[in-house]
Amino acid sequence: VIRADTVPHNGDGSQDIEAVLTSEPVTIVRRTQVEAHVLPDQSLLLFDSEKATAIPVNAAGRKVWEMCDGAHTIDQLVDSLAALYDAERTEIDRDTRGFLAALLRHGLVDKLGSVR
């Protein structure tokens, strides 16, 4: 459902990724140096001006990106997507966390930590 296409690999971030892939209720926030260009077909191009890395994201990924505002937990984000897409919640949950893990790995977002 959610794809970050042709993602070039930079950085490690394995601990963050591990955290995101678990069900821990963390919030994810977009990094300020990342420029987001929305295209007419609703896909999104994320460009990290510091690393000069561009990452294309599909329309579903764009919705995830837009909700990475620090105000939504991952669970809330998955709930919102589950209301939009005709897919199993477990599948959406897995895809969302995988997508966020990719964003974290490339330094496009930060994890704010547990809100518990």
Partner: protein, 303 residues
């Protein structure tokens, strides 16, 4: 011959050199040679850019000497036994100079072709097959403006293809011959085939409506798949040279270019099948565009 650059005046006085002036996207240069085929080749390559003489223009020289050819441009002086090699070497240096002279354009590694009603850009890394495919598509009625690089103006988004001789190696020539494609009859070896040699039609100034990325992998049968505009923007970015324009502005320009286009990725297969597939995509798309314009026209009339 020990002079690094022959002055235009001395060339004229020698009575055997000619000098022609060109201005390619604001980059002015003169071409000086004492070989008729060399002059003819450059006049055909840069025919749209012939200008009157300009003071201070850079000078490019191809000189026929007893044991071969010498080309000179700026600080470079290269001797070679083949005229084709001299022309290709000098043209490559000129192309780089044209790109470096731009301060408000970005250089995209892409071929630019025109059908009757639309522009198409083929992008992909070196060796992906842009030139061979472009040449083959020229045999299917498309006009090739450049098989290699285009400048995109940051303010207007205008696309300016830089004409280059087709980059056809032995493998390319074999593929074209096997597919029964007609190569122009030229005396010069290695081949120096300008786009004008295969199609004399003028080049329109249209924005690309179709963008095709040629992948590096090959398959048993060719395949085209639609890709998102952002994916295409990322592909174009990976094929864009760094220059005076900032990375952020480059991304903005490329996303704008992709915004008005249908985007596809090509996995090439056997050559003839690949040409058929891409020609069908372009010409089918052209039919679709024509129908769409007619519908828009009807709606406009009704309103």
């Amino acid at each position: 011959l020990t002079n690094s650059v022959l002055s235009a005046e001395s060339c004229r006085m020698a009575g055997q050199f000619t000098e022609d002036f060109f201005c390619v996207y604001s980059f002015s240069f003169s071409f000086v040679t004492n070989h008729a085929d060399a002059r003819d080749s450059f006049l055909r390559l840069y025919r749209r850019f012939v200008s009157s003489g300009t003071r201070g223009a850079a000078q490019a020289v191809v000189e026929h000497v007893a044991d071969g050819f010498i080309w000179r441009f700026k600080e470079e002086t290269v001797a070679t036994s083949l005229l084709g090699s001299a022309l290709l070497g000098l043209e490559s240096a000129l192309c780089e100079a044209i790109i470096r002279s731009q301060d408000r354009s970005i250089a995209v590694h892409a071929a630019t072709l025109y059908s009757v009603q639309s522009a198409v850009m083929l992008t992909g890394s070196s060796g992906a097959g842009k030139s061979t495919l472009s040449f083959a598509l020229s045999q299917r009625g498309l006009t090739v403006a450049s098989d290699d690089v285009a400048l995109v103006e940051t303010e207007t988004l205008s696309v300016h293809p830089i004409p280059r001789p087709f980059h056809l190696d032995e493998q390319s020539l074999l593929l074209l011959e096997t597919a029964s494609m007609q190569l122009p009859q030229l005396r010069i070896r290695p081949f120096f085939v300008a786009p004008f040699d295969v199609d004399e039609r003028s080049i329109p100034r249209w924005q690309p409506e179709l963008l095709i990325y040629i992948g590096a992998l090959r398959a048993a049968s060719p395949e085209v798949k639609r890709v998102s505009q952002s994916e295409m923007a990322a592909y174009l970015l990976s094929e864009t040279a760094q220059g005076p324009v900032s990375d952020s502005e480059t991304v903005r320009v490329l996303t704008k270019i992709c915004s008005g286009a249908s985007c596809f990725a090509l996995v090439p297969g056997p050559f003839s099948q690949t040409v058929d597939l891409v020609a069908d995509l372009i010409l089918g798309r052209q039919t679709e565009l024509t129908a769409s314009r007619v519908r828009e026209g009807e709606i406009a009339t009704l309103e």
